[in-house]
Symmetry: C2
Subunit: 455 residues, 2 copies
């Protein structure tokens, strides 16, 4: 073997069989729940037109989109003046018309508008696909990662928000992760801003609040003051944020605070209605009303949701909310939607840390058939066929090599049973079956082997 | 709605719920069989380093690789002389270090070399992922499509070839597609070339034979003559190709023809051994020995396999073979491998044409709960919860709208049962359940509804 070692682009990963199987377990669990609630699957292409994505994620986001170089004579389309200036930003639209999707939300909005006449509304979709971002890679942050999204589009009912909470509750109950489901409402934040006399500074407020978890109040206070939010407003906001009562008491306190703001009152009423439905649907995990929850994305207009693992310090593993005009960017107005996204990679990390994957997830072959020579090989093939017909994962060691090597293969691959047949077994029309974990062994007929390994 | 209509890159596709579910049915069937035979799943990133892919698919292939533009100041890395020349080919390596994978074979070879110490050999892997090619889009040919590959690497045993035939047989039996599995061997082709005295023109011969199906013999004859293959050799090859006997008779005839070539004799012996194993494993579909089967890829060194649907004019839906030195390109020699690839998109087209998808594949929600007002909505939520607990796909129409609209939603979404509850049902603690296909209806308790819709 030469010393040259091939590699893959930074921030991307290969998945070996065990990792693949654990990830698949997460996807399957999530998908099973999605389907049970009547969500329907769609898939969109990895590549979107660059024009579909540009301008949807802010200037910083635009830089993180992976662009695909046009095929053929790509330089020909660059106007001479642009070529002479040698400027990256103005070069891009001439040499790239496609890009890798950055999230599943914008492609979904594009999908709804493009297939409007083929869909019936309210449309409940789920989508589990990778997305790509040219972010600086770091622990837990990758350049290729999976999102698992559900959205209901074309319905204003707050029952949808409650159902997203219930789905979240079901998914994490199935996965065995104890979570806190945090809820807030953009309208409550707008109400607070209005009452504090900083209604025009809502985005500055939400951007700052979003960092509370990571940076602590002192930093946030500095940021709010630097954004010219008056000190008395900052003090009032702080008083609300330190409330740590029951969810009902907190809602009452905030309700009292925003009573002069119509938007604020609507936000409180919406939150109460969502919680009422959630209660009727029977939520097992803890729901928390968190006024600091703002989520950076400015397209949210109503409820905001975020989920964290309870027993582990880690960022959110899921988040979403209500948006009133997402398809507007593609020309379709008045389509209110609400959705939530589950981050499979972070969920994987949580489950690994807490050792939550069932052992059976990464078990592969159940029976290995070993052979001594051409004769025993042929003698064993009907057994192999019978095992497969009974849906038992079984393989025969393909090469005629020493028994020690074949048994070592069984060992390395954690195979529970091995079958061995020599001339004696052949003459009696039986097989030796051995349990690799206990070293017990039996002399059995073909049917006897099947029965034993199935039990 | 504005007149602007968003779109997606040519050659790519959105999958709506029904299409998604049918595709998923194919993937699941294939994956279940792979697992039963002891193959283990891996995944590799969508992006590989461009240097990993370049030069592996020939000059034409290199042009069809989708390249990813480097992030940031990509023009800075272009040397001034290259920039001044304005030449596409020499530009690319300076502005693109990543590319989308073109197939699953080269990434797999890279994977084996990179993770050599983490794997145990023989290593049997499967991989089901999309690949991207900048081919000219046409019917049945897309720029993003899925491959489903299995390979055994690190084993010389011909049992592997037989097992690939058996897996193919199982997959298409499960899918309900009647297929012909064609087999040939590169060594037989080499033997024929050797006997005809054109041993140095093997690639010209295989390249021409590969087109026999599409172009017919006359065209092939012209091509062979134009490649300076002598007329007497062309006549001999034709005589072999027109043989249409039983598989045994054909092998005997070819065996006689190549008896003076050691390579040819080996090819015949290998084919007979593979067929012996295949027989012991119990193949249901028709196996055909096809001397014209050559498959363009020059990395094959032994058996070649190809699968076609029997009742339909369509290209091959699966193909593969033995390659003795695939990992050699990444510095790891002496790792013989054998593999086969199933084309999910073509299999989909075959199944659609022959109407082979089970009806249940694209059934989604089983029960729709309709409601009249806030009271009946809340009354029905515990029923929704109970349905989900019993793993029944159920949803409640989220908005309080006219019953007609709710029933029309059930209709459009092919939902079998609807539940309706008004004040009378509420007072008796029951629900009206209606079968949408027969219009039958029943007055049932919560448990009664569950029992009825489960049966």
């Amino acid at each position: 073997m030469s010393t040259y070692k091939p590699s893959i682009p930074k921030g991307t990963r290969d998945f070996l069989p065990e990792q693949y199987s654990k990830r698949k377990y997460i996807f399957n669990t999530i998908e099973r729940v999605f389907k049970r609630y009547g969500f329907k699957p769609i898939e969109t292409p990895a590549m979107e037109l660059l024009s579909t994505l540009t301008g949807k994620y802010g200037d910083e986001g635009d830089k993180l989109i992976f662009k695909i170089l046009n095929s053929g004579d790509f330089l020909q389309s660059v106007p001479t003046t642009t070529y002479e200036k040698r400027d990256n930003i103005s070069f891009i639209p001439h040499i790239c018309e496609k890009a890798l999707r950055y999230d599943l939300t914008v492609p979904f909005a594009r999908f709804v508008v493009q297939h409007y006449n083929e869909l019936s509304f309210p449309f409940k979709r789920y989508q589990i696909q990778p997305v790509w971002r040219a972010d600086r890679p770091q622990k837990g942050r990758y350049r290729e990662f999976y999102q698992c999204d559900i959205d209901v589009i074309g319905s204003n009912s707050l029952l949808n928000e409650a159902e997203l909470i219930k789905i979240t509750d079901d998914i994490f109950t199935h996965l065995g992760i104890d979570v806190i489901i945090k809820i807030n409402n953009r309208k409550i934040l707008a109400g607070i801003a209005e009452v504090c006399g900083i209604g025009d500074k809502l985005i500055a407020l939400t951007t700052a609040l979003d960092k509370l978890d990571k940076q602590g109040w002192d930093m946030i206070e500095q940021e709010l003051l630097s954004k010219e939010i008056p000190e008395d407003a900052v003090i009032k906001i702080r008083e609300l944020l330190v409330l740590k009562d029951s969810i009902t008491d907190m809602l009452d306190a905030v309700s009292e605070f925003v009573k002069t703001s119509e938007t604020g009152r609507t936000g409180i009423a919406e939150t109460k209605e969502i919680l009422k439905y959630a209660k009727l649907l029977g939520i097992k995990n803890h729901i928390e009303f968190d006024m600091s929850l703002a989520r950076g994305l400015n397209y949210y207009t109503g409820a905001i949701l975020e989920v964290k693992a309870r027993t582990l310090e880690m960022g959110s593993i899921s988040g979403g909310g209500r948006y009133d005009d997402l398809t507007g960017i593609f020309g379709l107005n008045n389509m209110s939607g609400v959705g939530i996204s589950y981050g499979a990679d972070r969920i994987y990390d949580v489950m690994e840390s807490l050792n939550l994957f069932p052992e059976t997830v990464s078990s592969f072959t159940h029976v290995l058939i070993c052979h001594l020579d051409q004769y025993t090989l042929c003698y064993c093939l009907p057994l192999l066929q019978a095992l497969h017909q009974h849906n038992i994962a079984a393989e025969i060691y393909p090469d005629t090599v020493k028994m020690k090597k074949q048994l070592s293969y069984a060992d390395k691959n954690c195979i529970k049973y091995v079958v061995i047949a020599g001339s004696e077994e052949m003459s009696k029309n039986v097989f030796t079956l051995k349990d690799m974990s206990t070293s017990e062994q039996w002399l059995l007929s073909l049917d006897g082997v099947i029965e034993k390994v199935r039990s």
